[in-house]
């Protein structure tokens, strides 16, 4: 049993010795996949440029190009990006060089935390206020159209402080509307709030609906952030929800944080709107904006009058590519989802020949804080494009009349980034440069090594042969900790985690110290060596258990409250406690029995 555990532990720790190959990974963007054709293309390319590579193959659904030299990584990435074009994402990676037979049993090296690998950690907060405000705007439009369809005359629908207010001229209509709305919109609550001069219904979102909206805002943000992260071309990114309003993003190996933030933090939405062609722009600038329209500005600052009604928001966009039309003029091809397509078709069929504007809405932090100390975001609008509707548009259409290719590319990127219901902002960032990561690994490794060596020297000096037994247990313990950490999928090694290993190494001998001291005591009391060993082990057992359980309690608390690095420490500590109990009690017992068991002993080397 003991030997089996040790063998398994070491087997799974083994991949850590093989190191990693510098690699370039290739993955297809939406819809395209890496096939044998691309692999052949890449191989030919590498041979032509005389770049030495270990292998080019598809591994776990990703095409991996393993290289021999670190220095080749960047040039290879450039080369492949150019050759394969924009349908593929080419990212730098470090691929574990684990032999196939170890891979086959599911063994792989330890996953390193960002503080050891280098990379960026972001914590983003979703602005729920904005999400709810947007939902309320949706309610206003919903009520208007459904009341109109039902031919119930209302005198106004507007957003009020405590919900959406629908006003009526007489009580009879109000009652009719009330029963209709209650039937039609089950996910809202309606209450009558009429005063002497005003007949009105206040509509609110129900609790379920509120929760759903929040949930959706988070889920949508996560999806969009994932897409954006994929655009960055990062190997093994993490985009994860944390708590009710936050999202964690981890980008290992990213060095250009400014660009990452630009792409991630662009809390942008898009709206397609009609240009109010009847309005006089000069009048509008002077303040006389027609009802139902508003003034917006282009990138160069020139004014455009837009109708307030939004034809379509950017969350219906599923794809946008820049390219060239048949006269090689730059253009952007846009595809919409089904709902977006039918909305667009319904609208454009009556408006052929009219100009349509693409409005880019961005939320920027203002630096001001609300009462809860959260940053307030400000809405910036900019018309990025005005195009004439040439025909009835459907699920896919194109925008032409763009000045140059770079602008087309930019527009496509903006469109593709999709639209967020709720703006997000970065509330925490931790960036570790790659050099510091490597340094941390080296230092942590050195600390473990020297700490271990000191103990390995000390124990035999103090406990003689039994000290050697303890040393054996200690080495086995470190091996098993690394093996278990490599085995558990969620466990990552962080710098505090390495400190945790150092600490467990120090504390692991405690169990042996307890046992050996106890054996010495029993000997002093005049028991025979065999009896003393027996008694020593059994008497020390309950003490060891008590002591370790309390440490385990702290490890669990650390794990449950801690974030990132602290969690890593808690994991190693907990694993270390479990493995050290095993090796120090059961492991050494086996060895002691094997060495001294069944013999008549006069003395013990302890």
């Amino acid at each position: 049993m003991v030997i089996l555990v040790i063998v398994i532990g070491f087997l799974y720790a083994l991949p850590n010795l093989y190191g990693e190959d510098p690699a370039v990974q290739i993955s297809g963007t939406r819809g395209s996949e890496v096939t044998e054709a691309q692999l052949v293309q890449v191989r030919n390319l590498l041979e032509k440029e005389q770049i030495a590579y270990r292998s080019v193959a598809v591994e776990d659904g990703l095409a991996l190009v393993r290289l021999l030299n670190n220095a080749d990584q960047l040039p290879t990435q450039d080369l492949i990006t150019k050759a394969l074009g924009s349908d593929f994402i080419v990212a730098l990676n470090l691929a574990p060089a684990t032999p196939a037979w170890l891979n086959a049993i599911g063994a792989g090296p330890l996953k390193l935390g960002l503080d050891l690998r280098g990379g960026v950690h972001f914590l983003m907060e979703v602005d729920m206020q904005a999400a709810l405000a947007k939902a309320q705007q949706g309610m206003v439009q919903d009520f208007r159209s459904s009341l109109r369809e039902e031919k119930i005359r209302y005198s106004g629908v507007r957003e009020a402080r405590d919900g959406v207010e629908i006003r009526f001229r007489d009580q009879e209509t109000l009652d009719k509307a009330m029963s209709f709305l209650k039937r039609q919109h089950r996910n809202y609550t309606f209450t009558e709030s009429s005063s002497a001069d005003q007949l009105a219904i206040i509509a609110n979102m129900s609790e379920d609906n509120l929760a759903e909206t929040r949930e959706y805002a988070i889920a949508q943000n996560i999806t969009i952030l994932r897409n954006r992260v994929n655009q960055l071309g990062v190997a093994e990114p993490v985009v994860q929800r944390q708590g009710s309003e936050r999202i964690v993003i981890q980008l290992p190996g990213v060095q250009d944080t400014a660009r990452a933030k630009e792409i991630l933090g662009a809390t942008a939405t898009l709206e397609f709107r009609m240009v109010d062609a009847d309005a006089d722009t000069r009048d509008a600038v002077a303040g006389r904006v027609p009802a139902g329209s508003e003034l917006a500005k282009r990138q160069d600052g020139s004014p455009v009058v837009l109708k307030k009604q939004v034809i379509l928001t950017g969350d219906h966009i599923v794809g946008a590519q820049s390219g060239f039309d048949e006269y090689s003029r730059p253009q952007v091809n846009i595809s919409l989802d089904a709902a977006g397509g039918s909305k667009m078709a319904a609208f454009t069929k009556d408006n052929v020949g009219e100009p349509m504007a693409t409005l880019f809405v961005e939320y920027k932090p203002t630096g001001k804080k609300d009462s809860e100390g959260r940053g307030l975001l400000e809405r910036h609008e900019e018309v990025i494009n005005v195009a004439t509707i040439q025909s009835r548009l459907g699920r896919s259409f194109r925008i032409t009349g763009i000045d140059n290719a770079a602008e087309a590319h930019n527009l496509a990127l903006l469109l593709r980034a999709g639209a967020l219901i709720a703006p997000i902002q970065i509330v925490e960032e931790r960036t570790i440069g790659p050099s510091l990561g490597q340094e941390n690994i080296d230092k942590g490794f050195k600390a473990i090594l020297y700490g271990l060596l000191a103990l390995l020297v000390f124990m035999p000096l103090y406990y003689k042969k039994f000290g050697l037994v303890a040393n054996f247990a200690l080495i086995v313990n470190v091996g098993i900790i690394i093996g278990v950490m490599s085995m558990i999928p969620g466990a990552t090694l962080t710098l505090p985690g390495m400190a945790g290993i150092v600490l467990t190494v120090g504390m692991a001998v405690d169990a042996n110290v307890l046992i050996f001291e106890r054996i010495r005591e029993e000997m002093l009391e005049g028991r025979s060596p065999q009896h003393a060993i027996q008694q020593g082990y059994s008497n020390a057992l309950s003490t060891i258990a008590d002591a370790n359980i309390t440490t385990l309690i702290t490890a669990i608390i650390l794990f449950s409250i801690g974030t990132g690095a602290v969690k890593g420490f808690a994991v190693t500590l907990a694993i270390g406690i479990a493995t050290s109990m095993f090796t120090a009690i059961i492991g050494t017992r086996m060895l002691v029995n094997w060495l001294w068991g069944g013999k008549r002993l006069e003395q013990l080397s302890i």
Binding site: E428, G433, G451, V502, L503, M507, T550, T563
Partner: protein, 317 residues
Amino acid sequence: MYFSLFNPKGVVPFMSHRKPFVILSILIVLASFASLAINKINWGLDFTGGTLIEAEFSKPADLTQVREILTDKGFDDVVVQFFGSSTQVMLRMMPREGENSELLGDQIMQVLRDGTGDDVTMRRIEFVGPTVGKELAEQGGLAIIAALGCIMLYVALRFEWRMALGAVLALAHDVIATLGLFSLLGIEFDLTVVAALLTVVGYSLNDTIVVSDRIRENFRKLRKGSPEEIIDTSLTQTFNRTIVTSLTTIMVLISLFFLGGEMIHSFATALLFGVIIGTHSSIYVSSTLALALGVKKEDFMPKEIEEKEGADQEPLV
């Protein structure tokens, strides 16, 4: 015979000369409180919020020049200091009102590169928003209190309430003393230090439990003897183990302290000091308190049904 650090002839009367040690403990706690009140704690970025940048220059950096460059560009509240070596510089600033603080790190790196003409490389940027900082501080405090509570409960169930109270007060003593040291030396107190404090709690408790375990055993085993004598006997018996374990732990911690690098320096400091103070407290604070609370033989005698030692534990294999 074997070599031993400590080879007592008979029982060492720990308890009879406990006075100076108890006074020492009281002094340490009082001094810690005084230092906490006067010097406060140098809260790290995790708790205050703000931005921290670690930059590496290709040649030894001139801090005065760096400060001037930053002041020129309007970053006048930046704390600039060396970090580990003369080419590595740490910059820290508090959260600013009315600015896009998440971009601050990159802006400052750019200012440094332009200003010094040196190819300054970024080693680390950390930005923590003020709300997050507040939350982290609350969580950290909560964790320590929760840990102490859980441990007290466990010890009270396993042993006896007087021992539990003694053990937990000993732990509080260690935590307060470590906090005092941090405030006295002005070492930065960040999240990893909270982890270290919790580990100290776990470690010191480990020591205390071993002693308490022996006290319980001896109360049951030895017919004669006052509580004081029994505690003395127990402390004497476990003394070698206490010292050896502390020694081995301190050995690896010293390795961590000197070789582990700047990022876990505060962490190693907290542990190193905590282990030393924890050794002291497990001998003097917890047993003295239990004794003062009037622990006696009857408290440990098994009730009616003879309970087998360790029978209430799950089997280990």
